[in-house]
């Protein structure tokens, strides 16, 4: 006999390492069966897509468990059950997100006209909206003043928050050495993270009211209110980023006879800049949708205001709020609702754009690799 013959496993002898296994198509068959059964059960109480999905999911989880238990054994069945529950949790978490995006796209896209993007609500009265509904003319008026306000106020809030937040984080990580001052700062930064946004708005309104007389409302007051909300986010994210810069790089720089502040500016911050940039973007995304503090600090106007230091200003969130709560035409609210949804879509797009910009920045500044 040759050696190869002895090595070939005999067809009669069973491999003792194998166990019963479900074929690959089995789980899809269970899924299909569950869908059919789910449809049947849900039609008993009146067919609805949501009911169908719910019943099918429950049946699928139970059936998957039982089928696996009968063929593959208890351990595999538990594994299948846990996996399916995790998938279910994932889908449940995804439903609101998809639903929000879907709704905003559905209701906002019709309003995304050049009229909406490039005109303000100046001179728009209920008469215009009534005409739109009665005669079918296009919806006039838009959120240009809101876009201008959002961009300017967020810009000034960023200009205030980033230096303050960055320098605070540099102090905490590089200079404080865990003294009482740094513990105090860390504590109050945590407290600031939790303050309600309307309180920040009241603070800014009261501060400027004390200095420039009561009811001072400008874009800059709103920027101060927003920076109160932004600073803690910038501090915390920058602090985390600076902490993960390896100490070896600081020591390498010191050993070359470089001063501490130069080391921080030229070695530590550049190494962490991509993380800092995305932290700042997240902070901007957090405040760009604020409504309450803007109502009490920037007021509300229908006309375009390019000056953040004088006169009231409108931002997209307050625009949405006003269009929904005080429609331009109280009798025909549809044009106002359409403008509000379009503004909501625009706001989401701006935040997405900011996230993209942050990724590009992170990629540009990231420590270089490759040979």
């Amino acid at each position: 006999m040759s050696q190869t013959a002895t090595r070939t496993p005999s067809p009669l002898r069973k491999n003792t390492l194998t166990k019963n296994q479900l074929p690959k198509w089995a789980i899809w068959a269970v899924l299909a069966g569950s869908l059919v059964l789910g449809a049947a059960v849900s039609s008993l109480i009146g067919f609805h897509v949501v009911g169908w999905a719910l019943f099918s999911a429950v049946i699928f989880v139970i059936a998957g468990f039982l089928v696996t238990l009968s063929v593959e054994g208890e351990r595999k069945a538990k594994d299948r059950f846990a996996s399916n529950m995790i998938y279910a949790a994932f889908i449940v978490a995804l439903v609101p997100l998809v639903s929000v995006i879907w709704t905003v796209l559905e209701k906002g896209l019709p309003g995304m006209t050049s009229n909406f993007l490039f005109t303000s609500m100046n001179g728009m009265t209920g008469v215009v909206d009534n005409e739109t509904v009665e005669n079918g003319t296009p919806v006039l008026g838009g959120a240009y003043h809101g876009i201008v306000g959002t961009v300017l106020i967020t810009f000034w809030a960023t200009v205030i928050s980033v230096p303050v937040g960055l320098l605070t984080a540099v102090y905490l990580v590089e200079y404080s050495r865990g003294g009482p001052l740094s513990r105090g700062i860390t504590f109050f930064v945590d407290v600031m993270t939790g303050i309600p946004s309307i309180v920040a708005g009241l603070f800014a309104a009261a501060l400027f009211g004390l200095i420039f007389g009561p009811s001072t409302r400008t874009g800059f007051v709103a920027a101060v209110a927003l920076s109160v909300l932004m600073i803690p986010v910038v501090v915390r994210s920058t602090e985390e980023m600076l902490k993960i810069v390896p100490n070896e790089l600081r020591e390498a720089s010191y050993a070359l006879g470089v001063r501490k502040w130069r080391t921080i500016i030229k070695v530590v911050v550049p190494t962490a800049i991509s993380g800092i940039a995305s932290g700042v973007t997240l902070a901007i995304a957090r405040v760009i949708g604020e409504t309450a503090p803007l109502l009490v600090t920037a007021g509300f106007v229908n006309s375009i205001n390019f000056n953040a230091f004088a006169g009231w200003m409108t931002t997209l969130p307050t625009f949405i709020y006003r269009q929904l709560m005080n429609p331009t035409s109280p009798t025909n609210i549809d044009p106002s609702a359409q403008r509000a949804w379009a503004a909501a879509l625009l706001l989401i797009l701006i935040v997405m754009l900011l996230n993209l910009i942050a990724r590009v920045i992170a990629r540009l500044f990231a420590p270089k690799t490759g040979r």
Partner: protein, 259 residues
Amino acid sequence: MSKRIDVNDLNVYYGNFRAVEGVNINIEARSVTAFIGPSGCGKSTFLRTLNRMHEVLPGARVEGEVLLDGENLYGPGVDPVTVRSQIGMVFQRPNPFPTMSIRDNVLAGVKLNNKRISKSDADALVEKSLTGANLWNEVKDRLDKPGSGLSGGQQQRLCIARAIAVSPQVILMDEPCSALDPISTLAIEDLIEELKTEYTVVIVTHNMQQAARVSDKTAFFNIAGTGKPGKLIEYNDTPTIFNNPSEKSTEDYVSGRFG
């Protein structure tokens, strides 16, 4: 362009803990001095006091004096930054700056201090330093590539090039080969041999063969027990330390009978 170091009665502390006790040592210019000893005996700590890197850590302080050609590094009014620009250091793990190219890493000591340097001078300095670190031929075609893309041994030689680019008097090396393979280690050891002609080199190593190969003089540090301060036990010419030490514990350590 190299200076001698004399240390008198040096005690090194981390907070209240005395890590190194009563060191007296004279390190000759243009020589290689190796520090050997078991882990935790304070040789790295002591090395870091020689260019005032020790005090970067919170709570760390030093008593005694370290004389660089007779000038006390710990005298009143001495700027640690000036000290460090004269006494360079190479660390255990290669640590090129990840945001910089190979060329910028070599020029880091100049550029980070915002000194003005013409392009031709910079090119000459890069070539001289990289040649000095035996790295020029390997990287001359990719000077603008990131330094972190080099192999570990090349990165360590890049760090040495970075250290010698600022023309120090003394180069301290803290276990420079412990993260490297034997071939890269050999390259670094050859380099140390060449550096000796121009610089004073002090090297900490766990590898006794390495100490025997590269150093002119060897200092043996030891520790009496956990929580006790480390001490300089014996300091002599390298052949004497390895072949005919006067202390029993040195003999035990170099012959591998330790602990």
